[in-house]
């Protein structure tokens, strides 16, 4: 069940950015939704893990 506004997801799908960038934004939006309202959200680990994971694919794609 996705709860990110459909308008945002549609705009993201249509954008010309790489699939990795799109996936990162989609994932981070979900993380933000999950932690919305938290006083001190611990987002750093989630952010770093996803950035590192997707940046690797992005580089591999560039190398090809």
């Amino acid at each position: 069940m996705s709860n990110v506004n459909k308008r945002i997801l549609d705009a993201l799908d249509k954008s010309s950015y790489s699939d990795e960038v799109k996936e990162l934004i989609r994932t981070l939006l979900m993380i933000e939704l999950r932690h919305k309202g938290d006083k001190n959200p611990r987002y750093a680990e989630d952010y770093d893990r996803n950035i590192k994971r997707l940046a690797k694919f992005s580089e591999a794609e560039e190398d090809r």
Binding site: N3, S18, L28, L33
Partner: protein, 663 residues
């Protein structure tokens, strides 16, 4: 998603009440009629309490009182009383979703205490293909609920008629922008961009063994990034203060316009018109200044270089006159002859004897001349360009003089109008009524505060721009430094990926923001014009780039400040319904006392148009008998699938309400 039913037990005046909602596509309006104080708004509160654990539409008379039904507490003295609200929805896939929240209470020695529940509320259950799924509780359940009806934007689905009237009186452009942000979840992008930037900087910080150059840039970047956050907070604070001052100024103007003195009313209206004209003049002055700057930007380099350009032209012309350009022969051609040792007349020029040497010298002399004019083509082209440049600024002094004359005349006009404004203010300050004099003094102060704050905002915006420029510069420099050593390749990859992602998020945010603003403006405008009873009076509803709402008259004058309470309510209803329709969430709408402030005549018009503008949305109207007149009933007859009356009793044992289905 549609509402199937709500079941309230011991919630405020509802001891055990179940209401089933109309949800056929033909007649999806439910009417719940009740007198003032019968429990209409508490029905709205039961919904928000069940979904979010808060009563968002609480009347001041209930503040501080426990939500549990008092009569039940009295009956079951010293026993546990459970208060619960269950709401069943029907999802878009036809499957049912049950949301429940309960809280038990017990009275002990005259004190009411909450009894802890075995599971953290709320609870959600989803219907599967064959059976219901397992219940989910607490945070997980809340996450699911938020995905169905986001808490931040509940007020665009569950409207409160009383609050709607004050909506535009209380909300500034910034708050309206906030509403658009909330409804389209754009706030998530802002947080995401901020955090992604922080993480990006952290990647550099965490890297060990950075060169001193990289370390230096990183430190500078760190300082600017941190300062930017403070600068932005400062800007937000100043903007809020400016908006507060502007709101106060408007409020006091409204008071003066509604004052008992006809003269003051007239003066205040004159002031309103003058301020509008000054505003337009200010825009014209700004356009002219921009035009002037553009002309100066284009002309100044040529003006400063005019003398060297003229000298260059003279030199080139001189060479042309001397026949040196264009050259008679190309250098390459002469070099070729010298290399071959044969002139074009076939004579020998190899230097082998006296005659040959003499001929060779003649040919070499040609080469010298040709070399001097080797750039002849470029010189000829440049000469043409120099001529064009010198010609292009011939009209420059006239253009600037004309613009300055126009600017001066506009400025003079503006000064005259400002002086008139001063006279009006002085006249109001001499009014016989002390209250009016005070309002004017306060208004003048608010106006000065607003102007001062505008200057401070401008300065702060400039600082932010400079800071952002510096950050960009540092980022470029950092990447250049990192490129020098291959050990930084991974880090560089991460930074580039973060930059791309930040850019993508920024572009998405801006594009959606613009799209949503235009859509909300159009929908709100269409709906307002359809619902409003004064035809051919208003142009519609306009939302500018700063999210300030205006309702212009047909002739362009601003009408928002002069709208009646009913008109304001229609305006707010149109705006909120527009926000709802662009939200991307399909949630039923509940409107509490939608027609309370509308006079009798226009009610029918609204009742006839509302279903059209909320087509495809399940609607529940909480109305009083006075609102739900025969005309309204007739106008909505085809849309209403279920109608209820709240029967309210306030007797010795406490308040109770029962809901009766009517034909």
């Amino acid at each position: 998603m549609e509402l199937d039913y709500i079941h309230m037990k011991n919630f405020r005046q509802y001891r055990d009440v179940k209401i089933e909602f109309a949800h056929s596509s033909q007649a999806d309006f439910t009417i719940i009629q009740g007198a003032n104080g019968a429990g209409k708004t508490n029905l709205l509160n039961a919904i928000t309490w069940c979904l979010f654990g808060k009563e968002y539409h609480m009347d001041s008379k209930y503040r501080g009182l426990p939500p549990v039904n008092v009569a039940s507490l009295d009956e079951k003295r010293n026993s546990i009383v459970e208060m619960s609200v269950d709401i069943q929805f029907i999802g878009d896939n036809g499957k049912k979703i049950l949301v429940s929240r309960s809280q038990s209470y017990q009275e002990n020695k005259g004190k009411l205490a909450e009894v802890p529940a075995p599971h953290a509320p709320p609870c959600i259950m989803l219907q599967g293909e064959r059976d219901w799924g397992y219940p989910q509780y607490g945070e997980d359940a809340q996450f699911r609920i938020d995905s169905l009806v986001p808490e931040d934007i509940e007020e665009y689905f569950f409207f409160d008629g009383e609050r709607m009237d004050a909506y535009f009186k209380e909300k500034s452009g910034n708050e309206i922008r906030e509403a658009v942000f909330q409804i389209s979840q754009l706030g998530l992008f802002e947080t995401l961009i901020e955090r992604l930037t922080k993480r990006k900087n952290e990647f550099v910080k965490q890297t060990r063994g950075l060169s001193p150059e990289v370390e230096k840039i990183r430190e500078e970047l760190d300082i600017h990034t941190h300062s930017l956050v403070t600068d932005k907070e400062q800007l937000a604070d100043l903007t809020k203060k400016r908006n507060d001052a502007a709101n106060l100024e408007n409020e006091l103007s409204q008071k003066l316009r509604n004052s008992s003195s006809e003269n003051i009313k007239r003066l205040e209206e004159q002031r309103g018109e003058l301020e509008e004209t000054i505003g337009r003049l200010q825009d014209d002055i700004k356009d002219l200044e921009d035009e002037r700057i553009e002309i100066l930007h284009k002309a100044m380099p040529i003006v400063f270089a005019y003398d060297p350009l003229a000298k260059t032209k003279k030199l080139i012309d001189g060479r042309k006159e001397a026949g040196l350009i264009p050259p008679m022969y190309k250098t390459i051609f002469i070099k070729n002859l010298l290399n071959k040792g044969k002139c074009i007349c076939k004579s020998d020029i190899t230097n082998k004897d006296e005659y040959s040497s003499s001929r060779r010298k003649n040919v070499e002399a040609f080469l010298q001349e040709a070399e001097l004019s080797e750039l002849s083509n470029e010189l000829i082209e440049s000469n043409v360009r120099i001529q064009e440049m010198m010609k292009s600024i011939r009209s420059f002094p006239d253009e600037i003089r004309y613009l300055e004359k126009k600017l001066n005349s506009f400025q003079e006009n503006k000064d005259k109008m400002n002086s008139k404004l001063n006279t009006i203010s002085q006249e109001i300050k001499r009014a016989d009524i002390e209250e009016i004099r005070n309002w004017e003094t306060q208004r003048q102060k608010a106006s000065q505060d607003r102007e001062n704050l505008n200057i401070q905002i401008g300065k702060e915006q400039h600082i932010i721009l400079q800071r952002e420029g510096r950050i960009k510069f540092c980022e470029i420099k950092l990447k250049q430094e990192l490129k020098k050593e291959s050990k930084y390749d991974d880090l560089r990859g991460l930074l580039t990926f973060c930059d791309e992602s930040i850019q993508c998020a920024k572009e998405m945010k801006d594009a959606i923001m613009k799209e949503v603003r235009i859509q909300v403006e159009k929908k709100a405008s269409d709906q307002f014009l359809a619902l409003i009873w004064k035809k051919n009076t208003y142009k519609g509803v306009a939302i500018d780039d700063d999210y300030n709402i205006s309702v212009p008259y047909i002739d362009g004058r601003e009408a928002l400040g002069t709208l009646s309470a009913g008109e304001r309510q229609v305006c707010a209803l149109s705006f909120m319904a527009a926000l709802n329709s662009v939200s991307g969430f399909k949630v039923p709408i509940i409107i509490d006392t939608p027609l309370a402030r509308i006079s009798r005549e226009p009610r029918r018009n609204i009742a006839e148009n509302l279903p059209h503008y909320l087509a495809g949305t399940q609607v529940t109207l909480l109305v009083t008998e006075e609102e739900y007149t025969r005309e309204v009933r007739e106008a909505l007859s085809k849309e209403v699938g279920k109608a209820y009356i709240i029967n309210f009793r306030d007797q010795g044992e406490g308040k109770t309400a029962e809901v009766e289905l009517v034909d």
